[in-house]
C-alpha cells in the first residue's frame, strides 16, 4: 500500500473537517470511516509524534504487540517493538521510526521481532515521515508480517536443492546403470558362449581348463559391475527410525556360514534401551555385512570377532566432532556407537590412507573387488554418520561407527 497516498488523504480529510461542520462527509469519507478502514487492514499501522510516542494505532497493531489499545497509546514505539537484524539487537538510532524522525522521508527494511508470547517474526517495516504544521515531525510506520512467506521461500529453496541433487544422482545412477547394462549384455553372451563350448567341446583337459578360467573371469567382471552399481547408489535411500541391535544381529545372521567355516567365535555386547536411529535398513545391513566379512577374512582360522553397541555423549573434539557447522557431530551431542573388533592381522600403516579408496584391496582376486569399504563409506556419509578404522595396540582392527540420535539435535 502506498502510505504516502493514504496519509495524504487523511491530511485532506482533516483539513476538510476543520473547514466543514461536524458530521459533514465530503466524498463520503469521514475520519471515522477512515479509521475504521485502517483498522481493518491486515497491516499494522502506527502514527507517532516527534518523540516516537504512539498517537494512534490500528487494531491489527494492537493485536500484533498483544497490548490493549489504551496501553499502546502514549508508549514509545521502540519500547513496544524492540527490533533485531540478523540476530543482533538494533541500535536505537537505526530504528525505522527514529530514522524517520531524524530526517529520512521513507524507510523500508526487513527486521526480526519477538512477540511478547515468544514467537519470532520476520517483519517488513515501511514508514514515512510527515511534517504537519504545528505538530512537528510525525512518523507513520506500517508492519507487514512476512514470516510465512519467508518460510515458504526457504522451503522452496530447500526443495530446489534436493531436486538438483536428485537429478544429479539420477544421472550418475542412470549413467552407471546404462554402463552396467551395456557391459552385462556382452558378459551374458560370453557366459552363454562358454557354457555352450564347455558342454560340446571334446573334453580335452586343456580346453576345459581354459573354459573354466574364462568362466571365472566373467564372474569377476560381473562382481565389479555389481560393486559399481552399489557405489553409485542409484537407488534412493529410505530412512526409517530403527533400533540398531536387531540390525546388528540380522547382519550377523547373514554371515553365520562364513563365521562357521573359519571357526571364529563371536562375542556381542549390545546395550539395552538404545535410542532409535534413522537408517536405510538394507544399506546399513550391507555396511555391517561388509565390515563383518572384512573381519572374517582378516584371519586364517579361529579368532574372535567382538561387536559392541552403546550410547554416549560426545565430550572431546575429534576428527568429526567439533563446534563448526561443517562438523558432523557437535560436542555435547548424544550418539549411538557400534564397534566391530577382530583378532586378525591388522592393517599395515602404509595402507591406512588408502583403505577407503575404490578398488584398493589386499584380498586375493576371488575374494574382493576393493569396493566394499568405498561403498560402505559412501553409505555412512549419506546417513550423516561416521566411520573410523584403527589398529588395536594388541593386534587386530577396530571399526567404530557413530550415528546421530533422532530428535536429539534435530
Amino acid at each position: 500500500m502506498d502510505l504516502k497516498k493514504f496519509v495524504g488523504h487523511l491530511n485532506e480529510e482533516r483539513a476538510a473537517m476543520r473547514v466543514g461542520k461536524e458530521g459533514i462527509e465530503p466524498n463520503g469519507l469521514s475520519l471515522e470511516n477512515m479509521k475504521g478502514a485502517l483498522s481493518s487492514l491486515v497491516e499494522s499501522i502506527v502514527w507517532t509524534d516527534q518523540e516516537g510516542k504512539i498517537q494512534w494505532s490500528n487494531d491489527p497493531f494492537d493485536c500484533l504487540v498483544e497490548q490493549k489499545h489504551k496501553k499502546v497509546l502514549g508508549s514509545k514505539l521502540i519500547d513496544l517493538m524492540p527490533l533485531m537484524q540478523n540476530g543482533h539487537k538494533l541500535p536505537s538510532r537505526l530504528y525505522p521510526v527514529n530514522l524517520l524522525l531524524d530526517g529520512e522521508h521513507q524507510v523500508r527494511e526487513l527486521y526480526q521481532w519477538q512477540k511478547p508470547s515468544g514467537k519470532l517474526l520476520d517483519l517488513e517495516v515501511s514508514g514515512v515521515q510527515m511534517d504537519w504544521n504545528r505538530s512537528g515531525k510525525n512518523a507513520f510506520v506500517s508492519f507487514h508480517d512476512i514470516t510465512e512467506q519467508k518460510h515458504t521461500e526457504e522451503e522452496l529453496r530447500e526443495a530446489q536443492l534436493q531436486l538438483i541433487q536428485a537429478v544429479k544422482m539420477e544421472s550418475v545412477g542412470g549413467l552407471a546403470a546404462g554402463i552396467a547394462h551395456e557391459v552385462k549384455n556382452p558378459l551374458a553372451v560370453l557366459q552363454m558362449g562358454v557354457d555352450y563350448l564347455a558342454n560340446s567341446a571334446n573334453g580335452t583337459g586343456e580346453i576345459q581348463a581354459v573354459l573354466r578360467d574364462m568362466k571365472q573371469a566373467i564372474v569377476r567382471a560381473d562382481n565389479v559391475i555389481k560393486g559399481l552399481l552399489d557405489f553409485s547408489v542409484s537407488r534412493k535411500l529410505e530412512f526409517v527410525l530403527s533400533d540398531l541391535n536387531p540390525l546388528v544381529n540380522r547382519s550377523l545372521n547373514l554371515v553365520k556360514h562364513e563365521l562357521h567355516k573359519k571357526q571364529m567365535t563371536v562375542v556381542t555386547d549390545l546395550a539395552e534401551d538404545l535410542p532409535k536411529i534413522c537408517v536405510d535398513r538394507n544399506k546399513m545391513e550391507q555396511v555391517f555385512v561388509n565390515l563383518y566379512m572384512n573381519a572374517i577374512q582378516a584371519v586364517l582360522k579361529g579368532g574372535t570377532m567382538r561387536v559392541k553397541t552403546y550410547q554416549k555423549r560426545l565430550v572431546k573434539i575429534g576428527k568429526v566432532v567439533g563446534r563448526r557447522k561443517t562438523d558432523i557431530f557437535k560436542v555435547g551431542e548424544k550418539v549411538v556407537v557400534a564397534e566391530i573388533e577382530d583378532t586378525g592381522v591388522g592393517i599395515p600403516e602404509a595402507n591406512m590412507d588408502r583403505i577407503f579408496d575404490p578398488f584398493f584391496t589386499t584380498k586375493p582376486l576371488e575374494q574382493g573387488t576393493g569396493l566394499g569399504l568405498a561403498v560402505t563409506e559412501k553409505i555412512v556419509q549419506m546417513h550423516k554418520a561416521s566411520i573410523d578404522i584403527e589398529n588395536k595396540p594388541e593386534g587386530g582392527v577396530r571399526v567404530t561407527l557413530m550415528f546421530k540420535v533422532k530428535g536429539e539435535n534435530g
Partner: protein
C-alpha cells in the same frame, strides 16, 4: 516360448540353447512386437529382458498381466535383469513377473527357473 530381447547375440545364443532343450522358441526384439506376439500365439512362457528400447520390460510385464484375455494374463514370465538382485526382487513383486534371472546367468540357473513354470 517367447524371448523378448533386443540384443542380437543374446537372443541368438539363448534361442540356440533353448531349442537344444527341445523348446519351441520365437523372438521379439521390442515391447510392441512382444505384446502382439503374446496376444496372438499365447506362448507357454515368456523370457523378458527388463531393459529394452521404447517400452521397458516392467511396462510390458504390467501390460501382459492386465490383458483382457485371461490366457494371456496368466503366461508365466521370467525376467532377465542386469541390476542387483534385491532391486529386481522388488520389481518382480511390483510388475507381476514370476521370477527373475540376473545377467550374466548360467544355463542351469535359467533352465531351473523355466522348469518351475512349464
Amino acid at each position: 516360448m517367447l524371448i523378448v530381447e533386443d540384443d542380437d547375440a543374446i537372443a541368438r545364443l539363448l534361442s540356440m540353447f533353448l531349442r537344444e532343450q527341445k523348446f519351441e522358441v520365437s523372438v521379439a526384439q521390442d515391447g510392441e512386437a512382444a505384446l502382439q506376439e503374446a496376444k496372438s500365439t499365447t506362448p507357454d512362457l515368456i523370457i523378458l529382458d527388463l531393459i529394452l528400447p521404447s517400452l521397458s520390460g516392467e511396462e510390458i510385464c504390467k501390460a501382459i498381466r492386465e490383458d483382457d484375455d485371461e490366457e494371456v494374463a496368466r503366461i508365466p514370465i521370467v525376467v532377465l535383469t542386469a541390476k542387483s538382485a534385491d532391486v529386481d526382487r522388488i520389481v518382480c513383486k511390483v510388475t507381476g513377473a514370476n521370477s527373475y534371472v540376473t545377467k550374466p546367468f548360467d544355463r542351469q540357473g535359467l533352465l531351473e527357473e523355466i522348469r518351475k513354470w512349464i
